[in-house]
Subunit: 343 residues, 2 copies
DNA sequence: TTGTATGCGTTATCAT
DNA sequence: ATGATAACGCATACAA
């Protein structure tokens, strides 16, 4: 039935006739304090309803034990799984996670980096907004020795940690898989992004796989979407199917795009995978619900989150400043399901 | 090229020959400071690379401008949409959001409430863990005037804000819809939860709809799942279909359960919706990908998040302590799609 | 309109 | 093993 009374270490000190410094040390089980005192203090603390004030400790210690996560949105299977990985790992280490959404806006992202800095987060994990090309606003972190990890959508040039997959190799593998199924006219549906390199890397893989297998590159078979709205994707798919020379395979840079293309094809009576083999990217839950089940590229979202957290934590725990700003590349694999399995 | 130098208001004061209090007020655009001084201070601040330290301000003000969100997991469409709503609203008001996952464990939930309290969050939004029956660990918030909102999975008895849907009415509506389609033997697949009342409310609605329409209640047609794993749900569905008297309609308390049931039925050649009409709950993205498209109950996740945030914010902004711990009930509606549309 | 002084709750340094 | 005290960066009551 305690009310507004915030119990502090002063109250404990008064009650036990000890100094605040002793109380503080006892609460932290400092080795220089006798076990007897530690027990006594902790007992009194719970009795009096003492709750440590992290704010004060953080101010004093100049470290907050919270990791800032800045990403386009939470409401996307890949990103929410990534956050989940970040959060679980951080939580185990006693760190909190604050999350901010840029909504894919450069301007919001800039503001939020300020806000993260002002909150004195111990480390930052960021998946860049679609709009972002320039990453100068992250300099504030590196300048102030705050570990920074870019994940998935990473800048091309940056002397910071990066956690990613090999998008080029994945794009190549996906395309090669379709070729192995006998596809000769493979379309590519992707997102138009001027700067983000993940889609352009996937496309590069696609192009090289075609080249390496002596397949012709047809610009009409490459579609760049401005957004992944249902309408826009559907329109694009229909345009592909209406070509004089329609595709017999589609590599979509995301599962939703692939799924919409499949739905679209089915409406037109196109047989999948016989007439059209389709492969997506990400392994969203959706990919196992669409019929036929969608072949796709696994994307270790949760693991990427964990890896990012671990880099931050390692960097924070060890005082030895290693300036290795290295790149972590996680594996992907082709998941073959019914949408592309011809043999 | 600034290094470890943290610029504080002291530095600004020294530089401009002003008192720290003047600097502080100027930075906050306090009305008692001349515009000229305000401009001068702000200019110097940006020049010197000053960044406010929220930590210090929070300690001083005894308010952190952060909202704590405690829920089972992030990686679920409904919950990530909910968080998104919380976060967007909070962000607009200049509040941060820290997120913690209980992983549906009571023990973790208890620990995390402590941790949230120690972080001195300004308010708390919580969706209870599946395991949680007793909510005494939240008393610390109400005792200390920290606004607390339970959302979706709320405790039955609690003098705190609650944001939810009318699960009873929704269950009733869903069942009534199937009855309207001519179903006579309607099964109900739900989650076994001893305490959480959302599933039991939905079931109550189901039962009452049957009664009100003079349909017999058959215990064999009611399935309580321990988890929503694919395997367990599939087994349960098959058991239903193997009954002497199999159902001609299914009301599942979640979309995934409904989807698995549909997939299972299709494998057995059961025609949907002609032989079996199915309706789910939540309106997950998945529900529009399964074929036939799944009828379901809309669940305003994003809105629930917003509403929760707004309650916290309103409570924080106004100093007038209104002790109205009221319940916000949001609307749901039946979304009729192909899986249940018979006429 | 601006300045002085103090406290928010901790932890760390230096002493005892 | 324990104590006294300063400091973290900011905001406010009070004074001028």
């Amino acid at each position: 039935m305690k009310k507004n009374t915030e119990v502090t270490i002063y109250d404990l000190a008064k009650k036990l006739n000890l100094a605040t410094s002793t109380i503080s040390r006892a609460l932290n089980s400092h080795h220089s304090i006798s076990q007897k005192t530690i027990d006594k203090v902790k007992k009194a603390a719970t009795e009096m309803g003492y709750r440590p004030n992290n704010l004060a400790a953080s101010l004093r210690n100049k470290k907050t034990k919270t990791i800032g996560v800045l990403l386009p949105t939470i409401a996307q299977p890949f990103l929410s799984a990534l956050i989940s990985g970040v959060e679980t790992t951080a939580q185990e280490a006693g760190y909190n996670v604050v999350i901010m959404q840029s909504h894919d806006s450069y301007e919001e992202e800039v503001n939020l980096t300020q806000s993260l800095y002002s909150s004195r987060v111990s480390g930052v994990i960021c998946c860049l907004a679609m709009e972002t090309s320039d990453t100068a606003h992250f300099k504030i972190f590196t300048d102030n020795n705050i570990p920074l990890v870019f994940v998935d959508r990473v800048p091309k040039h940056a002397d910071t940690y990066r956690v990613m997959i090999d998008n080029y190799a994945a794009g190549y593998k996906a395309t090669k898989h379709l070729i192995d199924q006998g596809c000769l006219k493979i379309a590519h549906i992707t997102r138009a992004s001027e700067f983000g390199n993940i889609y352009s890397e996937r496309k590069k893989g696609y192009l090289d796989a075609l080249k390496d297998n002596n397949l012709q590159i047809d610009a009409k078979l490459i579609v760049n979407l401005k957004s992944v709205s249902y309408e826009e994707t559907e329109t694009a798919a229909n345009k592909l199917f209406n070509l004089k020379n329609p595709p017999d395979g589609i590599f979509a840079a995301g599962d939703m795009m692939a799924i919409i293309a499949i739905q679209c094809a089915k409406k037109r009576g196109i047989k999948i995978p016989e007439e059209l083999a389709v492969i997506g990217f990400n392994n969203d839950p959706n990919s196992r619900i669409i019929e036929p089940n969608l072949s796709t590229i696994s994307h270790p979202a949760e693991k990427m989150g964990q890896a990012s957290s671990e880099i931050i934590l390692k960097n924070l725990e060890q005082s030895t400043k290693d300036d290795i700003r290295d790149i972590t590349v996680l594996n992907t694999e082709v998941l073959v399901r019914e949408s592309s399995k011809r043999k």
